[in-house]
């Protein structure tokens, strides 16, 4: 039979990464108590410039990047540990999150020296934040259909169009936008480029899009004859598609795919008390086993990537399973708490937490590639299409 073997070779994070974990824990123990509990629940969706600056001071943002850009030249696995400690301890990592995970690595790989010098050192200090300008009103899963146009003019581009679901644009400094720089709308992958946009550029208007939980994370970013200098083109004209596809791979199997609402599990343990009944213990234990499995899979993928492999299907499977686990968690926890919480007061608090988690849950299987698109990728990997 010719289907590819699904393998997740068990992997140990190396001792230096585990030593770093202890350092990060010590830092978080000292830093987190000053931060409001409700802010901590959204973790990488909660911005806190103070926290990001403190983390940057420790050298833990852009940790893998070259020292000449302010990085620490540590391994990808060290970054993995920092990330999972931030999430496991519900740290407000939202300000620097995208810059650290996605935009910085993109500029390191494709950006010009000028672009790197301009932003990377500030990112590593926890002072410079990024948004992703991919989606548009008519382009969600089908990114190649973007309509935002960057028309070449002397010295740069004149940009017109609209980006949506642009997280943090109202408080971030830059956005990396996927735009059409040549050809026609129907040309699909050809003629797309990415540009580095200073969000204060004249002609760039940012309007809030409030989500169903009442939070203002998203924005609509409109370009009306905005002039973007030529020096802000990332890589070669026409390489935009190559860039976004490699960028999406960065974000598929990381710990944020199963630890985003870890607080629900932790609060569930609290509300069930130290001696839950057999059935409650069993349901709790099964949830813990699921999360443990996801972590083993994610660490295995990280190990394969560190070893120079590109386990694309395996990474997609981690996101698929992890996001569905995160959607199941608040529901299973809510029902269990209703029958097994130790006190009425604890229960009321917990149900509020679970309700909030439930309202956030639909986003997990949409952002970074919907479950259905991911499953299409997996199906291709299985040789079905």
């Amino acid at each position: 039979m010719s289907i590819p073997k699904l393998e997740f070779p068990p992997f140990h994070l190396p001792p230096e990464a585990e030593a770093l974990r202890e350092e990060v824990r010590g830092f978080l123990k000292a830093t987190l108590p000053g931060i409001k509990t409700e802010d901590r629940f959204a973790s990488w969706n909660t911005p806190s410039p103070d926290f990001s600056r403190a983390l940057g001071k420790r050298g833990w943002i852009g940790i893998t990047w070259p020292k000449r850009y302010g990085g620490s030249e540590r391994s990808f696995l060290d970054r993995y540990v920092v990330t999972e400690e931030l999430l496991g301890n519900s740290a407000p990592a939202g300000s620097h999150w995208v810059a650290d995970r996605q935009s910085g690595p993109l500029l390191l790989r494709f950006g010009s020296e000028e672009q790197r010098q301009a932003v990377l050192p500030r990112i590593t200090k926890g002072e410079c934040y990024f948004s992703i300008g991919m989606s548009e009103p008519d382009s969600g899963s089908d990114l190649a259909s973007v309509r935002t146009r960057a028309e070449p003019v002397p010295g740069g581009f004149r940009v017109n169009g609209t980006k949506v679901w642009t997280s943090g644009a109202h408080r971030n400094h830059y956005c990396i936008a996927l735009v059409r720089t040549s050809g026609q709308h129907g040309d699909r992958h050809k003629g797309l480029s990415q540009i580095l946009v200073d969000l204060k550029t004249p002609g760039v208007t940012i309007r809030p899009i409030i989500n169903l939980a009442g939070r203002h994370d998203w924005n609509e970013v409109t370009f009306s004859d905005a002039f973007i200098p030529e020096s802000c083109l990332i890589g070669n004209e026409g390489d935009g598609w190559l860039q976004v596809t490699s960028e999406l791979a960065f974000e598929r199997s990381g710990p944020e795919r199963f630890l985003q609402n870890f607080y629900v599990l932790r609060e569930l343990v609290r509300v069930l008390g130290r001696q839950p009944a057999k059935r409650a213990a069993s349901v709790l234990g099964r949830l813990i086993a699921r999360l443990w499995t996801l972590r083993q899979m994610s660490v295995a993928v990280a190990g394969m990537m560190q070893g120079g492999k590109s386990p694309a299907i395996e990474a997609s499977l981690v996101k698929d399973l992890g996001t569905i686990y995160q959607q199941d968690l608040p529901e299973i926890a809510r029902v269990l708490a209703e029958s097994d919480a130790t006190t009425e007061d604890d229960l009321a608090d917990f149900l509020d937490i679970a309700q909030y988690a439930t309202m956030m849950a639909p986003s997990y299987t949409i952002q970074g590639g919907t479950t259905q698109v991911l499953r299409g990728i997996v199906a291709r990997g299985l040789g079905l299409r």
Partner: protein, 351 residues
């Protein structure tokens, strides 16, 4: 054994199982035909002795080597007590005894040793009616003992499993013992090793289910095209792949942790989590597989049930997700919310 030797052994065993463990053998066992030749060949390859030290006549492999073979056996629905005999031999040799030829099994439950006689009843002992001996870890006044009892000295009630394999209740009534040795593992640990063995077999079976279903959907044409080209089917099979992947990943991680941590208590938490996870996903795997294959997969003629029925039986063997979930949940609740993340990230039971 080193990686290369193990890979060679696995390759040889895979070919051997492919050639000699066809549907006729599996179906034959369900009809009550013991495949004596097949078992002889398994012994000739030394598979039941894989984790027995060389000086005791074994292959000198590790627990991880043994588990890798058992995963493969799961992928071929090997309908003889290879896993059980391998574990029995491992326990006996670790307790200072010598591994014997012939099929054996583990009877893990409440058994007690008094004056070198064994007492107790163990339900759902795999392959009880076809083995030559039972191996158990019994409680005794001076610590747990590995005990071997000849099949003739036990009372066996044969109740074939829902997977069509021999299985039954075994009673030891003041039974004479062939061997008694101080056990390197406690009663609960022996049960854990049974769970680990099943988790790896389930990983193999799950893998085979995925391969079988993918192949079928690529061949089967309806509405003028292979059904694998329909998005509805693609989405189902991708979900199936995710459940299979989780089963494999958790079992392999537990096997690694058990092997590295040592026979006495290595990977306790990981084993519990892996068996819980494998048992949890068994139903989803079977459900998607059967839905994808329609009526054909529901027939006795097709081989799919060799694997789905085993998944359904194995998820119950040596503790279901309810059993292992309770163990994990109880320990983590006792340790409290602040210990949750540190225990989870260290893959261990919370203190």
């Amino acid at each position: 054994m080193d990686r290369e030797t193990r890979d060679m052994l696995l390759e040889t065993a895979d070919r051997f199982f492919t050639e000699r463990c066809g549907r006729d053998v599996v179906n034959g066992v369900e009809k009550g035909v013991w495949p004596a030749d097949f078992w002889m060949e398994i012994e000739e390859m030394g598979l039941p002795l894989i984790a027995v030290a060389e000086e005791r006549g074994g292959a000198g492999g590790t627990l991880a080597d043994m588990l890798a073979i058992l995963r493969l056996a799961g992928a071929h629905a090997v309908p003889v007590p290879l896993a059980e005999t391998a574990l029995a031999n491992l326990l006996v040799s670790a307790a200072g005894g010598s591994a014997a030829a012939g099929p054996g099994t583990v009877a893990l439950g409440a058994t007690t040793l008094a004056g070198n006689r064994l007492g107790g009843t163990v339900a759902r002992v795999p392959f009880a009616s076809v083995v030559q001996r039972f191996v158990t870890v019994a409680t005794a006044p001076d610590g747990p003992k590995v005990v071997v009892v000849a099949a003739g000295n036990a009372t066996i009630t044969n109740t074939p499993s829902h997977a069509g394999e021999p299985c039954g209740t075994v009673s030891f009534d003041n039974a004479t013992c062939e061997f008694v040795g101080a056990s390197p593992v406690g009663v609960e640990r022996a049960y854990e090793l049974g769970a680990l063995m099943r988790a790896m077999q389930m990983a193999g079976a799950a893998d085979k289910v995925l391969a079988t279903v993918v192949e079928y959907c690529k061949q089967r044409a309806q509405f003028g095209r292979p059904i694998s080209t329909f998005q509805a089917i693609q989405q189902m099979l991708a979900e199936l792949a995710s459940c299979v992947a989780a089963t494999i990943a958790s079992a392999e991680a537990a096997a690694r942790d058990a092997d590295e941590g040592g026979l006495a208590d290595g990977g306790s938490f990981s084993i519990a989590a892996a068996k819980s996870q494998a048992s949890d996903f068994a139903q989803r795997i079977a459900a998607i597989a059967h839905q994808s294959m329609g009526a054909m997969g529901f027939t006795h003629e097709h081989i799919l049930h060799h694997y789905t029925r085993r998944l359904w039986v194995w998820r119950r063997d040596f503790g279901s997700e309810t059993f292992w979930g309770e163990k994990i949940g109880t320990a983590y609740a006792k340790a409290g919310p602040q210990a949750l993340w540190s225990a989870l990230s260290a893959s261990r039971y919370a203190a």
